[in-house]
């Protein structure tokens, strides 16, 4: 398709949908309704939206959907760290039930017992999976869960009279940038630990960093390298001895289900991404859920409300003594809570453990195969990894000039994703693969084969790779500074129209 920008489809007079009309008698009773608006608040001109018939709007967006590579359509391994797994269709069917879609969050509790039951039952499952004691599903992404945990850390120390004193949070460089960023939003100074030569967080560095200013420690384990810090209990002990709280980014939990838990590792809090590990869809980037779990000691700090169960009735508990308040309106993304509950019930305890084991098996199979590709390597410790690996094309780049960005564009030609967002850019020419449990050996081989082919091309005929994509929806994007030059960027179509002359001058 060569689909225009939607504004270009404008045909004055066309209409996409008819709205429910006002009842004639209502109009007779109250008049036009809008005269009640004070003159200063009347909109003078209609918004400059396009006018398009329904079929054309539909065709436009359906075509755009076909130009989007959902995980349903490819061997979705290349968006490493994102845990792109199979999204069961039965769950999507369940969330479209009007008894889910058409509930108002303020309905009387008696009329939403089913909804509350699902929140509560997922809470019970998450407690068992993590070993922690209470969960909130209000945070609507991993980032927001991290923010909520940082908020709890602050509130906790304030409650203990140490709010001002404890102003540092320790994290590691291979943990997700949101860990540092959200703690900074809560006013914390960030201390970032760099790994040792094997890629492990360094306990000596940690010991050097802790002090009476330590408010908390946040870390992913395994980190985005797929390397598991086996000394994690020692880490949390060190922090606890210093008076800090430990909170666990379980974005990389997919290899750990039923294998090891936050509780035993000594964490006070953790979160899981329901849209990663628990098979809720990513939906182009949300809405999502970061399920936030705490020990009993921290229950009263959770964002309210949480769901409780007494005497056969589910209810919302709003009065949590030290609640941080709210991070998202009402209850969070309820339909994703339902999806994850359904997924856990479809697998059962043995199934969850199989998920973990197969994710690790698949990853190590790929790891073995990828390392055999000319030009590829995996920095840090040798031996096995857990559920993902951050690889490097450093050698390939040195020998052929082909960079990981070039590979990205060439992978498009194979109808596959290959992600470039490998913050922090410490590993050179990085690529991160996470095969999850959802892909068969044949699928993995297909992906590996594409990488092998590109490596071969890089060594034999690098131009093929460097001029990619050859077979994509669009041609290569103009490499000028259209996205970083404030005089040239256009974040909306109206700006594009205003700037068109400027564009023309540049050309």
């Amino acid at each position: 398709w060569n689909e225009p920008i939607i504004f270009e489809l404008h045909q004055p007079g066309e209409k996409g949908v008819e709205l429910p009309p006002v009842n004639e008698n209502v109009a007779l009773s109250v008049g036009d309704g809008t005269s009640a608006i004070p003159a200063s608040m009347q909109r003078k001109n209609k918004p400059n939206l396009p006018e398009i018939g329904q079929a054309r709007v539909l065709r436009h967006y359906l075509r755009l959907s076909q130009e989007t590579l959902g995980s349903d359509f490819n061997v979705e391994i290349g968006q490493g760290t994102c845990t792109m797994k199979y999204i069961p269709k039965i769950n999507e069917l369940l969330v479209r039930d009007p008894k889910m879609m058409e509930l108002h969050p303020l309905q009387n509790e008696e009329t939403v017992q089913g909804m509350l039951e699902i929140f509560y039952k997922l809470d019970l499952c998450m407690r068992e999976i993590s070993g922690l004691d209470y969960f909130s599903f209000q945070p609507s992404s991993g980032t927001q869960a991290l923010f909520a945990m940082a908020s709890i850390v602050r509130k906790y120390h304030e409650q203990n009279g140490e709010g001002d004193k404890r102003d540092e949070i320790i994290t590691t460089i291979f943990s997700h940038p949101s860990q540092a960023a959200t703690a900074a939003v809560k006013g914390y100074k960030i201390i970032t630990l760099h790994p040792d030569e094997n890629g492990f967080p360094d306990i000596e560095k940690l010991k050097a960093a802790v002090s009476e200013r330590t408010a908390g420690f946040v870390v992913a384990n395994p980190e985005d390298t797929g390397i598991f810090n086996s000394k994690i209990k020692e880490f949390t002990d060190v922090i606890h001895q210093a008076g800090g709280l430990c909170f666990y980014d379980q974005a990389n939990a997919n290899g750990l289900l039923g294998i090891t838990r936050a509780k035993e590792a000594g964490f006070d809090m953790c979160f899981f991404n329901l849209h990663k590990t628990f098979a809720a869809p990513h939906m182009c980037g949300g809405p999502a859920t970061g399920a936030l779990g705490v020990t009993a000691e921290l229950k009263e700090y959770l964002p309210a409300p949480i769901v409780e169960y007494h005497d056969g009735k589910y209810s919302l508990k709003n009065d949590l003594a030290h609640s941080i308040g709210k991070v998202r309106s009402f209850h969070g993304v309820a339909q994703t809570v339902l999806r994850s509950y359904a997924w856990i019930r479809a697998l059962g305890p043995e199934g969850l453990k199989e998920v973990a084991k197969m994710a690790v098996l698949n990853n190590n199979y790929m790891y073995h195969k990828v390392l055999a590709i000319r030009g590829a390597s995996a920095p840090y410790v040798k031996g096995h990894r857990l559920e993902q690996v951050r690889y490097s094309w450093e050698q390939l780049t040195q020998e052929t000039g082909v960079t990981t960005e070039d590979v990205t564009l060439r992978m498009t030609d194979f109808g596959l994703h290959y992600w470039t967002s490998h913050h922090p850019y410490i590993v050179k020419q990085p690529f991160t693969l996470e095969p999850t449990e959802s892909y068969s050996k044949e699928d993995l081989d297909e992906y590996i084969h594409a990488l092998e082919q590109i490596s071969k091309e890089a060594y034999e005929n690098p131009e093929i790779v460097k001029t990619a994509p050859h077979n994509s929806t669009i041609h290569k994007i103009d490499e000028q500074d259209y996205l970083d030059n404030p005089d040239k960027w256009c974040i909306t179509w109206r700006t594009y129209l205003k700037n068109t002359k400027a564009y023309d001058l540049v050309k």
Binding site: L19, N23, V30, T34, A36, S40, M41, L62, L64, L69, G70, S71, D72, D97, P98, M101, L103, H104, Q107, T111, G114, E117, E128, I129, Q144, S151, A181, A183, F228, S230, E264, H282, C284, G285, A288, K326, V327, R328, A346, L347, P349, E350, V355, N362, T412, H417, Y418, W419, E437, S438, S440, K441, I474, I477, L483, D484, P486, I491, T492, R494
Partner: protein
């Protein structure tokens, strides 16, 4: 006996596993876990209920959901931050497409359609608010407001923030949680008869350390704040920014805040095509003018349009990516991650379907219906249809103080008549006594409203 192969996990096939283990060169999968110390490894299976097959799962979940009573079964007058509106079927068709549902963070080539749909969303919403920059959606109105305020503080380099006392209390909690400890907050009082901001109080509190004032229009309490321009003038004189939260479905008839001086506009997309989903439909937006000092302070992704090497063809990409916490960690602007992109695409579909006339029409119908509701409620003895005298959009405070009943009692009786009454305000605004925030939109028929009035009459007569 070997375990069943689960439909979601193809490589549970023992022969395939054996082949893969051989390639890796280990005997068992558990060897791959040798990095996890023995004492951290779980010895027993998780204590979870056993697996259900697809049909059992469906019966199980539907059995639970059947305990709910939805707004399709009862007539609903709850709003207060999550609203029932007409949703065109095309919106559902698009956001249920397998491609959009399962896409995530691909690159501009293989996910061209996602980039275009979100760029178009930005562009369509920009027309509605009449501003030049709109971000990829944030979590919800509360967080959008919180972020807008933090942006204002960074732009002005000031720390104090004024909040209208009529801002939704639950939203304030989000704002304050996101704002502290960096920022300080103070409330500006309102006129108890109209809800309008008390400009004298504003003047008093508008000290030189004020980064911004945040208020909502139409407000949480439903009324329309008419003093936008006056407020803006006061703020401009103080070099403080004006941040306004709006219900976007009002903007076909109400002036967008940019017309009365807003620097940053935010709000919730849920009314534009999202099902309520027990609050899963919320999504926030932020809009500003196209000025570098604003654009540079967005934490969110901003998609921009760029030419490709082929004449006349468009591509898309991230504008000023180096701002973000993806790039800069704690030194980036606030934080960014997965937010609510699918609802952004859906809001775009909604706006494309309605067009300029549709947005005007829906605003008008809402106002006619809600005015009719107040008019009819006023016919009930001891009930005041609207606590405030000022004009309102789709929500209004119904005053039950003279009835002798609490809102809680009244709402219970309404439920017996298959009606969800308005939100009880007696906790959030005790100064109003027994009042409730009712919401009437274009989905309410005359019969729905008359039914409410009749039900109240009967209930109060008891």
């Amino acid at each position: 006996m070997s375990q069943k192969v689960h439909p979601y996990i193809p490589n549970m096939v023992p022969e395939v596993q054996a082949e893969m283990l051989k390639v890796i060169g280990v005997e068992s999968i558990m060897e791959l876990y040798s990095c996890i110390p023995e004492e951290l490894q779980l010895k027993e299976n998780l204590k979870l209920p056993p697996a259900l097959t697809e049909y059992e799962l469906r019966r199980h979940i539907e059995g639970i959901l059947n305990k709910n009573t939805s707004t399709k079964e009862y007539v609903n007058f709850l709003g207060a931050g999550c609203w029932q509106h007409f949703i065109p079927a095309v919106c559902d068709e698009i956001n249920q497409r397998s491609e959009f549902l399962t896409a995530y963070a691909g690159e501009p080539y293989e996910d061209h359609g996602r980039f275009q749909a979100l760029f178009e969303y930005q562009s369509l919403l920009a027309e509605l608010v009449d501003m030049d920059v709109v971000n990829v959606p944030t979590f919800d109105w509360g967080q959008a407001a919180a972020t807008s305020i933090r942006m204002a503080a960074r732009i002005t380099g000031r720390k104090k923030v004024l909040l209208a006392k009529t801002v939704a209390p639950e939203r304030s909690k989000i704002i304050i949680n996101y704002g502290t400890p960096t920022l300080e907050f103070e409330y500006v009082q309102f006129d108890t008869k109209s809800g309008a901001m008390d400009l004298e109080d504003l003047k008093t509190k508008l000290t030189e350390d004020v980064a911004a004032l945040y208020f909502e229009n139409p407000s949480y309490l439903g009324f329309i704040e008419a003093q936008g321009q006056e407020i803006s003038n006061l703020l401009k004189a103080n070099e403080s920014l004006m941040v306004v939260g709006v219900d976007p479905i009002s903007l076909g008839v109400l002036a967008p805040p940019s017309h009365y001086g807003a620097d940053i506009v935010c709000g919730d997309l849920q009314p534009l095509g999202m099902h309520m989903n027990y609050s899963g439909g919320q999504a926030g937006f932020i809009a500003t003018h196209n000025e570098l000092k604003f654009v540079n302070e967005y934490p969110s992704r901003l998609f921009g349009i760029v030419p490709t090497v082929k004449e006349g063809e468009y591509g898309f990409g991230d504008v000023a990516y180096e701002r973000t916490s993806f790039a800069q960690r704690e030194k980036g602007k606030e934080s960014v991650g997965t937010q609510t992109a699918l609802w952004g695409i859906t809001a775009g579909v909604y706006l494309a379907l309605l067009g300029p006339d549709g947005m005007q029409e829906v605003g008008q119908t809402i106002m006619q219906n809600s005015q009719y509701a107040v008019q009819q409620l006023n016919q009930i003895a001891n009930v005041r249809g609207s606590h405030f005298e000022s004009p309102f959009f789709k929500e209004f405070i119904v005053d039950f103080n003279q009835t002798g009943y609490t809102v809680e009692q009244i709402n219970k009786r309404l439920i017996e008549k298959k009606i969800f009454g308005g939100k009880d305000l007696s906790l959030e605004f005790p100064e109003f006594g027994q009042t409730a925030l009712f919401c009437v939109t274009e989905v309410h028929t005359k019969e729905d409203i008359d039914g409410l009035v009749q039900a109240l009459k009967t209930s109060l007569a008891k």
